[in-house]
């Protein structure tokens, strides 16, 4: 079942088409990888999906509803949550309060938010730092906190923007575990990442973009073996070369 449908999304900046007729769907209960080299337009797509950039053309539909021009707050209420590449937490309140605020922002009562925040703190191993101001947390801890804020009330779609970039391997494991656990419970993810092993590990399907267009869609292994995708990442191949691969054995 298609949860989020993106249809011919386009955006120009000045004379450049950063996103040019991009279409794909996110199916309920899947982890979809959105990959592509730098500058391919992934972040612009994400910004449009999260309401921070109005598209020049195209439609975004969620659960059948047209949400193309909805502002970020409305999208969040509708269940489209986003995590940022540079973590955005409320720096001058405690980590625990961050979770509470996130829960109450989604409509939960303070009591319910508190309950859920307590269990999230445990799950995300943030116990020792929960009373520190979020600004004092390490980068990895902040990412985990953002996860918590995203999931304190189950989102319809969680869009993750390079969540594993520059994260300690131990944290990475905690995050991956978290994603898998939620996925098993039926959560849907859109994962933008450069980290191929993680993409292969977590995603079932993938969409690859290059220069503002979609160049491949399908099962994650298929996409990573697609000729065009490999070229986009690694440059052109020549006859007789050992065929390169984007999949790294883990």
């Amino acid at each position: 079942m298609n949860l989020l449908v993106v249809d011919e999304l386009s955006k120009r900046f000045g004379g450049v088409a950063a996103v040019n007729g991009v279409s794909f769907e996110v199916r309920e209960g899947e982890i979809l990888g959105l990959i592509g080299p730098n500058g391919s337009g992934k972040t612009t797509v994400l910004n449009m999906l999260s309401g921070f950039l109005p598209p020049d053309a195209g439609r975004i539909t969620m659960d059948g509803r047209d949400v193309t021009r909805m502002p970020p707050a409305g999208l969040a209420q509708a269940g489209i949550l986003r995590m940022f590449q540079m973590t955005r937490v409320f720096t001058r309140t405690s980590a625990f309060d961050n979770l509470l605020t996130a829960g109450m922002a989604r409509g939960l009562s303070e009591a319910e938010s508190t309950r859920r925040a307590q269990s999230l703190v445990e799950e995300l191993t943030l116990g020792p730092v929960q009373h520190l101001d979020a600004g004092q947390l390490s980068g990895g801890q902040r990412k985990l906190l953002e996860f918590g804020m995203c999931f304190i009330e189950a989102p319809r779609v969680a869009m993750l923007d390079e969540p594993f970039a520059a994260v300690h391997p131990v944290m990475r494991e905690v995050m991956a575990k978290f994603i898998r656990a939620r996925h098993e419970q039926g959560a849907t993810f859109l994962l933008v990442s450069h980290d191929m092993p993680i993409v292969v590990d977590l995603c079932q399907r993938a969409v690859c973009m290059n220069a503002g267009r979609v160049i491949a869609t399908g099962g994650v292994h298929e996409v990573l073996r697609d000729h065009q995708v490999i070229e986009a990442y690694l440059g052109e191949t020549h006859e007789g070369d050992e065929p390169p691969t984007l999949e790294v054995s883990t």
Binding site: A76, F90, T93, T101, A105, R106, H131
Partner: protein
Amino acid sequence: MKAGPASLWRDRLAFDARAAVLLCAVLAALPLVITGPYAQGIILVSMYFAILSLAWNALAGYTGQFSLAPAAFAMLGGYTTALLDFYWHVPLVLAIPAAVVSTALLGLVLGKLVLNLSGPYLSLTTLAFAEIARVVIGNSHEFTRGDQGMHVATLTESRLAYYYIFLAALVLVLAVLYFMLRGRLGRFMTAVRDDAIGAESRGIDVVRVKMIVFCTSCAICGLAGSLYGTFSQLVSPELGLLQQTGLVLAMVVIGGMGSLTGSVVGALLVYLGSEWLRELGNVQVIVFALLVILFARWVPGGLWSAAVARIGRKQA
């Protein structure tokens, strides 16, 4: 480090509220000890500033909107009451609430103007707004008697009665702000302050939060200005001088931007200090401007955070 799963925000607020109640109780009892009308007058005026400080702290300290217009709104509130009284002889019972309403509406306008602005742009625009208001009022001789100011009726001739009127207003404002901060709005305010974009992406209606806080803050300033006008029986454009806003800034920065009690304490200290310094030789603005700079640079949480840290260390 505090143990237990309790929310730190709630605790901080509760502690703050208890301190505020204590402070108000002290203020209520003070006239028993301080009986001279001059001294009572000084504390009274510092309560006026305390109300302005609370209003500005709500907008700037808690919501991150560094408006430079609080004094201007006090002036606008004062003039609303004065004009209603002078031209239409509206009784003060109506003219004072009218000031609250008018400044609330103007606050809404200003809030709308600066919605998409941040940082220096916001400060500049509010500064422009404040100065335009002051210049317009100062130059409208036919309506407002310009720089000379206007006479205003008074609620009572008794200074002591006015002392308690201001105290009641202070308590009212503290109560209003406390209840605002305690619920969802308070959390959303600080969220907007810390990261407006992040707040939006989590579902917080940032526009609504900003408008509510602007409206409330400006209305509180209007109330203070209106009451002050009836107390001194005079309103003039001097109420809205940038220097007055500077004083309010100093009070909040020195007192501590993260708490309600801090603002009141800051107002009391700065105003009482300034009266004392005035006698020493008119150096009060110099001293407080210097203190603002020193505090902002080296003790950013103000006296409140220093005191809290001290108490925290004692408990640990």
